[in-house]
Structures are given as structure tokens and as C-alpha cells.
């Protein structure tokens, strides 16, 4: 199984009154943030599905952009376009772009739920499916295309045709990572109108522990905590400039000096000299 992701950015955003892809979350476009969260969670290929001619904000270089074949036909059209661009053995988390609190832990859980006998794992809360919070085997593409051909555009119909595993809140929160890092399942909170957007912005960002090492320490203090949505914002807050001489490690794992790297609850950030020689 090759973990992958599909990000649908093409919806009409009628109620929001503005392209959701271009809305910003603490200075970063929704599309860029979600794309980066998905890349971080899967490490695999990422396909961004846009409407034909849709203007897009800057996206991470690893994103492959494709367009819907036909506009205005809902998520199945976008899912089909995304799966077509992926290898046949891929299992792709499919996401909308209006979920700024999406957490990699939930993405990983959903992908892992696509076990050998499962074709799709989809989240469900309050008896409502979240088709754009689900993991799809690329092999379901013929079933999706068949529905599209018949103008049957509701994802629920797809779930009836292939082996679908439903992940309700109880199941999701049984995963210790999800329950610790996203206990309210905010990953599934999509923003549909300006009021949602305002409400989301009023939420406090998670407080993240920060360590600095070596010459980056000031007055001997190496530990602090900061609320920030991206690595760049966090670095600025602690007075560090990310460049070729200074890098950060997220959770002791990946090393980056990319200020656009999204931060999420539970992250621990360490700044140190990029030059490890000695």
C-alpha cells in the first residue's frame, strides 16, 4: 500500500462568498496549509484537484495539480480526477480544503483503517458521512466512474458498492494518537460560511513547546512555548530567522527550514544550527 492524498479545492464556495482555497489561516492559504498537512501525514504523492481555470494560491512543490473533467458535479468528480493521477496501489486520503484544523494523526488513522479487505474508510459523525475525510483505494476508480457515467453523484452510493469501513467518533477516538492530539475531532470541522470562518479564527491555537540549541539560546534559556500556526510564525515569535544556517526539527523527526510548514497540536519544535559538522 502506498499512502497518498487528494485535495479537492474546486468547490463553488457559494455560502462562503469567496474561494475557500484562497482563504487564509493565520497568514497561510487554506489550500497551502491542507496540502502541507497531507504531505506531512502521508509522505506520499499529493494530487490537488481544481476547477478548470481556477486561480490557485502558491502550493508546495510536491503537489501535482489536475482539474475536474466536468465542473459542478460534486466531490465524486474530484475524487475520480485525483485517483486517476495516482498509482494503482495507492490508498489516498481525500480532503476538502476548508478544514484548517486537520490533524495528521487523524489522516494517518483513516489511511491505516484501509486494511486488506477494505476499499474505503470514511469518517462519520452524528450519522453524517464525511466523504472528504476518507481514504480511498485507487482501485475504486472504476466504481466511481461508473456512478459518474450514470449521473449518480452522491458519494453514499459509492459506499454501498465497495467494501467501506465507517469510522465513527468512538472508533476514531479509540486511537490514542487521535484522542490525544485531536480530542474534539476538529479535523472534521469544515467551514462553510463567514460565521464558521470567524468562529474558527476565534479558537486559540495550540501552545507548542519550543527548544533552542547551541548558539540560538539566549541568556541560557532553551525552552519556551509558543502559539503559532506555521513554523515561520513560530520562529519569528522566538526571534529566530530560518535560513541555510538554522533549521528546525518537528517532533525530533523531519528537519526543515521551510517557514510554511504547518504546525498542529502536539508538535514539539527544536531549532539548531544547520551545520552539524564536528
Amino acid at each position: 500500500m502506498a499512502a497518498a492524498a487528494v485535495l479537492l479545492v474546486g468547490g463553488r464556495s457559494t455560502r462562503m462568498g469567496h474561494s475557500k482555497a484562497e482563504l487564509t489561516w493565520h497568514g497561510q492559504s487554506f489550500a497551502d496549509r491542507i496540502a502541507r498537512v497531507l504531505l506531512r501525514a502521508t509522505g506520499g504523492p499529493l494530487v490537488v484537484v481544481a476547477a478548470p481555470g481556477q486561480p490557485l494560491p502558491p502550493l508546495p512543490p510536491a503537489a501535482q495539480v489536475v482539474t475536474d473533467e466536468r465542473e459542478g458535479r460534486g466531490p465524486l468528480e474530484g475524487i475520480a480526477a485525483g485517483l486517476r493521477a495516482l498509482p494503482g496501489d495507492a490508498v489516498a486520503y481525500v480532503s476538502s480544503t476548508d478544514v484548517p484544523l486537520l490533524h495528521p494523526a487523524l489522516v494517518r488513522h483513516v489511511i491505516t483503517a484501509v486494511e486488506a479487505d477494505v476499499d474505503i474508510a470514511v469518517c462519520e459523525t452524528e450519522s453524517r458521512f464525511h466523504p472528504l475525510a476518507g481514504a480511498y483505494r485507487a482501485t475504486v476508480l472504476p466504481a466511481v466512474e461508473s456512478l459518474l457515467e450514470d449521473d449518480r453523484l452522491r458519494p453514499r452510493e459509492l459506499f454501498g458498492r465497495v467494501q467501506t469501513r465507517v469510522l465513527d467518533a468512538e472508533v476514531l477516538l479509540a486511537d490514542p494518537s487521535v484522542s490525544r492530539l485531536d480530542p474534539s475531532l476538529s479535523s472534521l470541522m469544515n467551514l462553510n460560511d463567514p460565521a464558521d470562518y470567524e468562529r474558527a479564527h476565534s479558537l486559540e491555537l495550540p501552545e507548542l513547546p519550543v527548544e533552542t540549541f547551541g548558539t540560538l539560546r539566549e541568556n541560557g534559556r532553551g525552552s519556551t512555548s509558543v502559539r503559532a500556526a506555521t513554523l515561520g510564525a513560530l520562529a519569528r515569535t522566538v526571534g529566530i530567522t530560518l535560513d541555510e544556517h538554522v533549521v528546525a526539527a518537528l517532533n525530533g523527526d523531519q528537519i526543515t527550514n521551510d517557514g510554511a510548514a504547518p504546525l498542529v497540536a502536539g508538535d514539539e519544535i527544536a531549532f539548531f544550527s544547520a551545520d552539524g559538522g564536528g
Binding site: N251, Q254, I255, A270, D275
Partner: protein, 604 residues
């Protein structure tokens, strides 16, 4: 003075001083310009001279085995960090090529004896000091110097010969043929691979050099301007870490990202790291800073040990004698490091071999119940026994590879070496470009000739998932190291160069007068790496020698994120195959005829 007259390019003397210790003779041999241009100087020139001058399959400790000091075209210029020299010999630890570097005034005085290289072969009948000055070379009895530390020897010789003389000397460990004994100058060591034992086997306690010649650059004003500019850049952020905390500033950060080898590579994080970290102890212990001659970085941080004596503290000595042995007691670690300096022992190989022995004791393979992980007193005892080749130390003085061969019981699977050289403080499972660099480097597990950790720590690629980008990074960093070690400049300057090869070509052109291009230097780098491989091939290298200890391929390490740092053997195999292809080697790691021809090389 030589300014590119005749066939001798500026910046060089075009001369090798060949000293036959057995016959008490010396002779000057010309070094052709083509050879100098093909190999530049330092490690590159040394590798070629070793290939040409060492009898095939020679015992590294036999009289016939040469030991060669090589200088560089930049030595003697005002270019910052250029006062460095290389020492090249067949390693008694690995049986393969060994090129260790050292710094400061010996480099300048050695070159200004009028030679680009000084070769010692044969052996003396009794302990001897080799003196090279305007009168040529002569051998003087070492007398009571035999048995002294390198530092005491140096001090005594400068008193007796005069302060014009600069000294490289071995300590008691070199005399006793500890296979990882060092050669020292001014407290710095040509540390890896046992060069001290090679000199000890020749009964040479020290080499003293005094300047008697001058050398000039082809474009002195251009060199001066480049030197001024480089000096300014050397004060910038790229060297801040070295200047302000020294390399020990690595320790805590490496711990945070699970790249700090601990308890003989059983873990990659050490709970005692804060007790040993520069951030924590520098304020309490640091006495002063120092630098090599002609250096504007000043990376050396001198600490006080608990008895008040002074010690240069580096990441590698603290890593190897601390976390690798599970010892968190800073007093014990610094004292062990000081004793290594006094005996003249490579701290990385000492720490690696002791840590390995500690695990062998745990597993019941070695009857030395006193030698336990975490025990500072046991660490100190082990260092002493190695330095004196006493008790268990006589076995540990052979290095972890030979200890494993002696003990058996599957211990070779966790003996921490490549080709016999103990691994440095960069965890290969979580730095997978580095893993490849360590596996294939001709010198063995070495972080100086393969600086691939640079790429792993840059965020350019996923450091836990070795693949084609890691192969490219390992080749590129190995090439850059081959050049910078041949020119020679200090690696701690590397961050100040935005286009390193182009800038180095400019420096070399201004010094030598050659119309050298970046493309030519890239070719030179590849030629140097290939020459070392050819030497190893002749000395018995086989493809299986390009590999890592089984432990690193079978036992993943855990990261704080929950991911594992795992390096399955098939992934390492794929990276090595990619490296062979990228280097123009065949599937068995030997250069193809086309590759040899493209680099002006041939096999005998």
C-alpha cells in the same frame, strides 16, 4: 623563492623529501607539475604518493610501509584556515588507505622546508627524532623523550632545538603500537587510523621542521584580496556555532533528533546528554578559546578538567567517551579525553572499542566484570590500560574489529566499525546519506572524508528514507571533502561558500597560476576518491568491505515522533549500487576501464 618558474607552479616547491630511516639517507625527488595539478596537495597528493610508494600488501607496521606528510598550495598564504597538513599511510587499524589531517604551525614550517611532501620509510634502530631544516634532514636520538606525551615531547624539543622548530610527535600509545594511536602537533591530532603506531613502529618519536625557504603565489594581490574577503565571511553566521560553542554544540541537538549514538549504538538518544552538553557546562568549565595558526574562526574551546588541567573539548571526544559508553559524568568524560590526549589515542576509536567491550561484558563474551556501561571509573581504567597496553587494554588496543575476531560469539554483528575504523557520532539509521558515506568511504567509518550528514540535516530530503537523493548527496559531499582536504581549507568554513567548487577554483588559480576551472576540480575530486579505492583494491579490499555493522541494519531506533529509524539491508544495498554507478564503478565496486581512462588512471 618559487613563483611558477620552469616546471614548478607557484604555491609549490615541486619537491618530495624522501627519508630512508634504515639507511639514514635522504633525497629530494621532483614532483611533476602534472601530478600536482591532478592531486592538488594534502590528502589527494598523499593518496597518490602512497599508492606509488607503498609496496603492495605491505604490513602497515613494517619498515617498508611509508608515512607521508603532505602540504598544500594554500599553506603559507594569508587565506584563513589554510595552515593544515595531511599525514598519509596504510592504516594498521584498517589495512587500507588512511589520511588524517592536523593543523597549525607545523603545516607552515613543514612546507617551508622546501617540500610539498615528506616521506618517511624504513625504521630506526633506536628511538629517534627526525629533524628537517635548511641543512636537510638528520636523525637525532630521542633519548628521554621516549615515554613522554606528545605535548611534553614537543615542548622539550622546542626548548632544545629552538622555537623556530615545529614538532609533530607521538605519545606512549604510538610507541606501544596501539592501532589507533595519533600523531599530534600543538595539542591537535592527526587522529584517525593509527598513524601514531606507524611512526612508533619506525621508532620515530617526533618530526621537527624549521622553515628555510619562501614560496609565493602567482597573483599575490589577488590572493590577498580573496583572503580579506574570506576572512570577513568567516566571521558570519556560518561559523557562529564553532566560534561560540565549538563542536560540542552538536551534542544536545543531535540528542533531540535521535542522532546521538548511545551505548554502542543500541540507542540514539542519551538521557545524560544535558550533563555533557556545551550549553550546560561551558559556563562552568570553559577557560578560554583558541585557534590554529592562520585561522579566524577559533573553534577550539579549552575546558578545565576536575584537577585543573586544560583540555580541548570537541563533540567527537565527548560523544565517544560519554553517550557511546553510557557515561554521563562530565568529570569522568573530560578526564578520559585528557588521558587519551596524553597517551596519544584517537578518542573515537577508544570510545567505540570500550563501548563495544562493555556490551561484550554484558553479554558474557568478555570476562571483565568491572567494565560496565555508565561507569566513569571503568572508562578511565580502560583508557589507561589501552594507553599502556596492560591487562584487557592489550586486547582493546587492537580496535573493535580485531576484538570481535578474538571474542567470536557473534560479536562482529555489533562491533561498531567499517573496514576496522570505529564509527563517529552520527547515527546512520537516522542519517541515511551519512550511512552510505560511512559504508563506502575508503578510509572506513569516517565523518571527515564523507560529510553527507550535511545533506541529512539540511531538510533537503527525508533523512530516514535513504534513496537516490541520498546517493547524490553522499557523492557530492565526498567530492567536496576530497577537494577541501587537498587544497587545504578547514571544513568549518564550508558554510561560507555559496558556490564552493567555483570559489575554490578561483583560490587555486590565484595561488598556482593555473587556469583551473570548477569542472577540472570536480574531475580532480573524483580522481582522488578513485585513487584511494585503487589503493584499497590492491591491498585486498573486497566489495563486502563497503558495508555497515549488522546491528545498524537489523535493529531500528525509535524517534520521539514515533517513527522508526530503520535501514534495511536491501536499502543500503540499493544505495551502494547507486553510488557505484554514480562513481563509474562496476557492480563489485571496482572502477571500470572507461572510468579509469576518463580520470587518467590505470591499474598495474
Amino acid at each position: 623563492m618559487t613563483v611558477g618558474n620552469g616546471s614548478v607552479p607557484a604555491g609549490y616547491f615541486g619537491s618530495l623529501l624522501d627519508i630512508d630511516l634504515s639507511a639514514c639517507r635522504h633525497a629530494r625527488h621532483p614532483l611533476p607539475e602534472a601530478l600536482l595539478r591532478d592531486y592538488v596537495g594534502g590528502c589527494g597528493l598523499g593518496a597518490r604518493l602512497l599508492y606509488d610508494r607503498a609496496p603492495a600488501r605491505v604490513d602497515p607496521l613494517a619498515p617498508d610501509a611509508p608515512l607521508i606528510f603532505t602540504f598544500s598550495p594554500l599553506v603559507g598564504t594569508p587565506l584563513t584556515t589554510s595552515a593544515k597538513f595531511a599525514v598519509v599511510a596504510k592504516s594498521p587499524l584498517t589495512g587500507f588507505v588512511n589520511d588524517a589531517m592536523c593543523s597549525s604551525h607545523f603545516a607552515i614550517a613543514g612546507k617551508l622546508t622546501g617540500h610539498d611532501a615528506i616521506s618517511l620509510r624504513g625504521a630506526c634502530d633506536s628511538p629517534t627524532v627526525v629533524v628537517i631544516d635548511g641543512g636537510g634532514a638528520r636523525l637525532e636520538p630521542a633519548g628521554e623523550l621516549w615515554g613522554l606525551s606528545a605535548a611534553a615531547t614537543e615542548s622539550s624539543l622546542r626548548e632544545s632545538l629552538g622555537h623556530r622548530y615545529r614538532i609533530s610527535a607521538i605519545g606512549p600509545a604510538g610507541e606501544r603500537l596501539v592501532r589507533y594511536a595519533t600523531l599530534s602537533h600543538d595539542g591537535r591530532h592527526a587522529g584517525r587510523g593509527g598513524l601514531g603506531a606507524v611512526l612508533g613502529a619506525k621508532l620515530v618519536k617526533a618530526v621537527a621542521v624549521a622553515p628555510s625557504q619562501k614560496v609565493a603565489s602567482a597573483e599575490p594581490e589577488r590572493v590577498l584580496a580573496l583572503a580579506r574577503e574570506l576572512r570577513e565571511r568567516s566571521f558570519g553566521p556560518a561559523t557562529a556555532k564553532y566560534r561560540e560553542l565549538g563542536t560540542l554544540g552538536n551534542l544536545l541537538a543531535f540528542n533531540a533528533i535521535s542522532t546521538l549514538p548511545t551505548r554502542n549504538f543500541q540507542e540514539a538518544q542519551f538521557e545524560g546528554a544535558p550533563q555533557l552538553a556545551a550549553e550546560e557546562i561551558a559556563g562552568l568549565r570553559e577557560r578560554t578559546r583558541s585557534s590554529c595558526a592562520s585561522c579566524t574562526i577559533g573553534c577550539e574551546h579549552i575546558y578545565a578538567t576536575d584537577d585543573g588541567s586544560e583540555l580541548r573539548v570537541e563533540y567527537e571526544n565527548v560523544f565517544a567517551l560519554g553517550p557511546l559508553c553510557g557515561v554521563a559524568d562530565a568529570d569522568a568524560v573530560l578526564e578520559a579525553s585528557r588521558r587519551c590526549d596524553e597517551y596519544g589515542i584517537d578518542t573515537i576509536s577508544a570510545g567505540g572499542t570500550i563501548a563495544f567491550a562493555m556490551e561484550c561484558v554484558e553479554r558474557g563474551l568478555l570476562a571483565a566484570p568491572w567494565l560496565r556501561f555508565g561507569d566513569g571509573a571503568a572508562l578511565l581504567r580502560a583508557v589507561e590500560e589501552i594507553g599502556e597496553r596492560r591487562g584487557l587494554g592489550d586486547l582493546l588496543a587492537e580496535g573493535s574489529k580485531r576484538v570481535a575476531e578474538e571474542l567470536g560469539g557473534g560479536s562482529d554483528s555489533f562491533a561498531p566499525h567499517v573496514k576496522g575504523l570505529e564509527l563517529p557520532g552520527y547515527e546512520p539509521r537516522t542519517l541515511q546519506s551519512m550511512a552510505l558515506g560511512l559504508a563506502v568511504n575508503p578510509r572506513g567509518a569516517d565523518h571527515n572524508r564523507s560529510g553527507a550528514y550535511e545533506a541529512d540535516m539540511s531538510g533537503e530530503h527525508d533523512r530516514l528514507e535513504g534513496g537516490p537523493p541520498h546517493v547524490a548527496a553522499a557523492i557530492a559531499t565526498e567530492n567536496r571533502a576530497a577537494l577541501v582536504d587537498s587544497l587545504i581549507l578547514c571544513k568549518f568554513l564550508r558554510g561560507v561558500f555559496s558556490e564552493p567548487v567555483a570559489e575554490w577554483a578561483e583560490l587555486l588559480a590565484a595561488v598556482s597560476g593555473w587556469d583551473v576551472t570548477p569542472a577540472e576540480l570536480e574531475q580532480t575530486a573524483r580522481r582522488i576518491v578513485l585513487t584511494k579505492r585503487l589503493f584499497n583494491q590492491r591491498e585486498g579490499w573486497v566489495a563486502d568491505d563497503d558495508w555497515l555493522p549488522d546491528r545498524l541494519l537489523a535493529e531500528p531506533v525509535k524517534l520521539a515522533s514515533g517513527r522508526s529509524g530503520a535501514l534495511p539491508p536491501e536499502r543500503l544495498r540499493a544505495m551502494i549500487d547507486g553510488y557505484y554507478e554514480g562513481r563509474g564503478l562496476d557492480a563489485w565496486g571496482t572502477p571500470t576501464p572507461e572510468t579509469l581512462a576518463a580520470h587518467g588512471l590505470s591499474t598495474p
